[in-house]
């Protein structure tokens, strides 16, 4: 018989008992849709992490102050104010470093005309937009001469613009009071959205770090230093070089702990990926168990079906069906059951993924190879669990089968 005829025959047999066929498929349907949803969420989570990491800036390293111990009390990380713009300058000369920006940030009130707003004012270097992969919307960015001149100029983020200049007019050229120091707006940043931890990145005002230190904080130290390596492969090497240079600069003696930390965002990304990977493996395991249970369900029903249809099998044999043909018929039925279940499972899974995307806004994605894998796996389940009942049918004695009750 042709493949078409065999599948047709199987469909025919399964359609004779639609509700039972559907219930038999249920295990596979649940298993496959679980696989699809799991993979979609896993891929989505990885995409999300990657987006966040690249959103922070390419090949980013962050130098943060370490903790210090004063009178036996240890501060937390960043407690020490040890990083200076000079540290930044020396780091900039490290081979493999593309750009460096000291960061001075403070939380303060900003005023423009009749509106005021509390926001994060960040002192940065001109390289900041490059490091953070952030583009300007309008105007120009802070220049090196602004930095050298400790200029009273600023660049506004979109959230600040909408709060200080709600009328929609361009804020460029206007004056903004930052802790009562007047700054002239020279540019606006494009919208960047939320950060990985839900922080509104557009709620910021950028000024030269020299201005921030001199005019606002009055300190000679900076909060952190952002470093961009030339390539992603360079990141670990650059990380070591920076650590060594800062050790020398900060005169860290052998055996004592550093008063700074060089953090590699790629490490954080990998940790996040490993976490989602482990979670995904766990869920995939659960899904696999569900598929196997589904397969056992198919085997069970096929065994019942063989028993119920013993007379039919006997009749088919007496009409000239070889045992191989009977085997194919029953095997095809279980494969059709499981593949159909797999396809329905994919559809339900995709609907579930779309629903999750709509409800949570996660960047989920269904990779095509996951769909192929799920359907192929369900077919394999059908073959594996369908073989025993099919073999049982094929090896029936035609006389006994014909006279079965």
């Amino acid at each position: 018989m042709s493949l078409f005829a065999v599948v047709n025959l199987a469909l025919h047999a399964l359609l004779r008992n639609v509700s039972r066929s559907l219930l038999t498929m249920l295990g596979i349907i649940i298993g496959v849709s679980a696989v699809i949803i799991t993979i979609a969420i896993g891929v989505g989570a990885q995409n999300f992490v990657q987006q966040q990491i690249t959103g922070l800036g390419s090949n980013l390293l962050v130098i943060v102050p370490g903790s210090v111990t004063q009178v036996g009390v240890r501060t937390g990380a960043g407690g020490a104010s040890t990083l200076t713009p000079a540290d930044g300058l020396s780091v900039a000369s490290v081979p493999g470093v593309a750009a460096v920006s000291p960061i001075v940030s403070l939380h303060t009130q900003v005023i423009a005309g009749g509106n005021n707003w509390q926001t994060t004012v960040t002192g940065v270097a001109p390289t900041f937009t490059f490091i953070r992969a952030w583009s300007l919307e309008r105007g120009s960015f802070l220049s090196q001469s602004d930095t050298n001149a400790i200029a009273k100029v600023c660049v506004l983020g979109q959230t600040v613009i909408s709060n200080l200049f709600p009328d929609g007019n361009s804020p460029i050229g206007k004056t903004v009071l930052i802790t009562n120091v007047p700054f002239t707006v020279i540019g606006t940043l494009s919208a960047k959205g939320q950060s990985g931890i839900g922080q509104d990145q557009d709620d910021t005002v950028l000024i030269p770090y020299t201005s921030a230190m001199e005019r606002l904080t009055g300190l000679t130290t900076v909060n952190i230093i952002l470093v961009s390596a030339l390539t992603a492969d360079d990141v670990p090497v650059v990380q070591n070089r920076i650590t060594n240079i800062l050790k020398q600069r900060h005169r860290i003696v052998l055996g004592s702990s550093n008063d700074f930390n060089v953090r590699n965002l790629q490490d954080i990304a990998q940790t996040a990926a490993a976490t989602t990977g482990a979670l995904q493996a766990l869920l995939a395991g659960v899904a696999a168990v569900s598929l196997i249970v589904g397969g056992i369900g198919i085997m069970n029903i096929m065994l019942v079906s063989v028993t119920e249809r013993t007379r039919e099998i006997g009749l088919r044999m007496s009409l000239g069906a070889r045992s191989q043909v009977i085997l194919e018929q029953f095997l095809t039925e279980s494969i059709v059951l499981s593949v159909l279940g797999g396809i329905i499972g994919v559809l339900i899974g995709v609907i579930g993924v779309i629903a999750i995307a709509l409800i949570t806004g996660w960047p989920v994605a269904v990779p095509p190879q996951a769909v192929v894998l799920a359907v192929a796996f369900s077919a394999a389940v059908g073959i594996f669990f369908g073989y025993y009942p099919a073999r049982k049918a094929a090896h029936l004695n035609p006389i006994d089968a014909l006279h079965a009750e």
């Binding site: 009749l315 009409l319 000239g320």
Partner: protein
């Protein structure tokens, strides 16, 4: 052996040996020849061996010893696949309980033997329709078995038995589940097929009035043939 001999069995025995049960001799040295165009009725009480004989002739079972020649070919020791192919191509079966597939239309039931003979879909449909029409149930082609009377179902079963043009039709109590009117109708159809088309029929029946449609009656008892004679009168 003459070319016109379809079935030739020589000294056929069948012994059932089950552990813990006494040994049963179902057939004990049966020798019969059936020629082309014969209409043979096999009669005998339960346990006489007539069903075993039918199963062996129908290639559903194999004898313990003895020889079986079908159309001049020794088929005593064929494997399961070879027997299946011969059942498909050379034999037609009719059962007491019709044995139509449930929830499968009449025409699809008739197509079944051709499916196993690898006949193409178009030719299958055409031949099945022709066979149904020959049996006077052409207008019932799309009906399901449970929508049809016993007489109609058995006529569809006969169409199914004939559709691969077998050389021998084996009918096992074909009227056992039918009323008198339908029984006679079915037997008349067998007789007509035998008279007009020279179809060779081997019939098993309990009912002497049905056996009278045959041209030769073989009686079994205790696994042996006790009489083998032409029928004297035929009720038309």
């Amino acid at each position: 052996m003459s070319d016109s001999v379809i079935v030739s069995v020589k000294n056929l025995t069948k012994i059932y040996e089950t552990e813990g049960a006494p040994r049963v001799t179902a057939l004990n040295g049966v020798s019969i020849n059936i020629s082309l165009g014969e209409f043979v009725a096999v009669m005998g009480p339960s346990g006489s061996g007539k069903s075993t004989f039918m199963n062996i002739v129908g290639l559903l079972d194999q004898a313990t010893s003895g020889e079986y020649w079908l159309e001049g070919k020794n088929v005593s020791r064929l494997n399961a696949d070879e027997r299946a192919d011969l059942r498909c191509q050379r034999l037609g079966f009719i059962f007491q309980a019709y044995n139509l597939l449930a929830r499968t239309s009449a025409i699809e039931n008739v197509e079944l033997p051709m499916l196993y003979a690898r006949v193409g879909a178009v030719e299958r449909r055409r031949a099945a329709q022709a066979a149904l029409e020959q049996m006077g149930v052409g207008d019932q082609a799309q009906k399901l078995p449970n929508q049809l009377s016993g007489g109609q179902q058995q006529r569809i079963a006969i169409a199914r038995a004939l559709v691969n043009s077998p050389s021998l039709v084996l009918a096992d109590e074909p009227t056992g589940a039918l009323d008198s009117k339908n029984s006679h109708d079915v037997m008349q159809r067998f007789r007509a097929l035998n008279d007009e088309r020279g179809l060779t029929v081997l019939l098993v029946t309990h009912d002497p009035s049905m056996a009278l449609y045959a041209k030769r009656i073989v009686r079994f008892e205790d696994g042996q043939v006790i009489s083998d004679a032409p029928t004297t009168g035929v009720s038309a």
